[in-house]
């Protein structure tokens, strides 16, 4: 497996190639997409991108945790966590692409 890591730069390069805007503007648009998705999630909204997947915010209630090193009990406050559920299309393409 190649195991490369792509970043924002690779995404903006793809936008630059596909749409023909400047590199600078392509980078700004990638940033806007991520910002709008983050803003919606921070407001507690679900972000559902068809044929990609669904990001949703889940409320976790408070619980007692334990410091694994000392064994000491520590309260964990209620928190919101993000979960991502990939679409069937994404699952199928990832499974097919990585099959031996």
């Amino acid at each position: 497996m190649s195991e490369k890591t792509l970043t924002r730069m690779d995404l903006s390069e793809a936008v630059f190639r596909e749409v023909g805007l400047s590199r600078n503007e392509s980078a700004q648009l990638v940033e806007s997409v991520l910002r709008h998705m983050s803003d919606a999630l921070a407001n507690g909204e679900t972000v559902k991108i068809s044929s990609f997947g669904t990001f949703s915010v889940r409320e976790k209630s408070s619980r007692m945790g334990r410091n694994p090193k000392t064994g000491e009990e520590v309260p964990i406050s209620p928190r919101r966590v993000l979960s991502f559920r990939p679409s069937h299309l994404m699952k199928d393409r990832v499974a097919a692409g990585n099959a031996k």
Partner: protein, 95 residues
């Protein structure tokens, strides 16, 4: 928020772009992420999160209705880990 609402927001902020170009931009971003994972690559978007591929080993599963043993082949599944900044924002700790 759904894909079309995301496209509408980006279009609003960029009145100089045709809506069809904004659609293409948004679709390109998501397509590029899927293609990367289909190659086994990771996509790391600082502050937002990272998409990666996890391997699930072959196992013997059971048909829950009949209880029959079935061989489940090794497979690869998409995985997303939330970035620190976004995780903090969800809990109102940043902004």
């Amino acid at each position: 928020m759904i894909r079309s609402e995301l496209i509408a927001k980006i279009s609003e902020e960029n009145p100089h772009l045709f809506q069809r170009d904004v659609e293409k931009i948004v679709n390109t971003i998501f397509e590029e992420i899927i293609e990367a994972m289909a190659r086994g690559d990771r996509v790391e978007l600082r502050g937002f999160g990272a998409f990666s591929v996890k391997k699930r080993d072959a196992r013997t599963g059971r048909n829950p209705r009949t209880g029959d043993a079935v061989d489940v082949e090794e497979k690869h599944v998409p995985f997303f880990k939330t970035g620190k900044l976004l995780r903090d924002r969800l809990n109102g700790e940043a902004d």
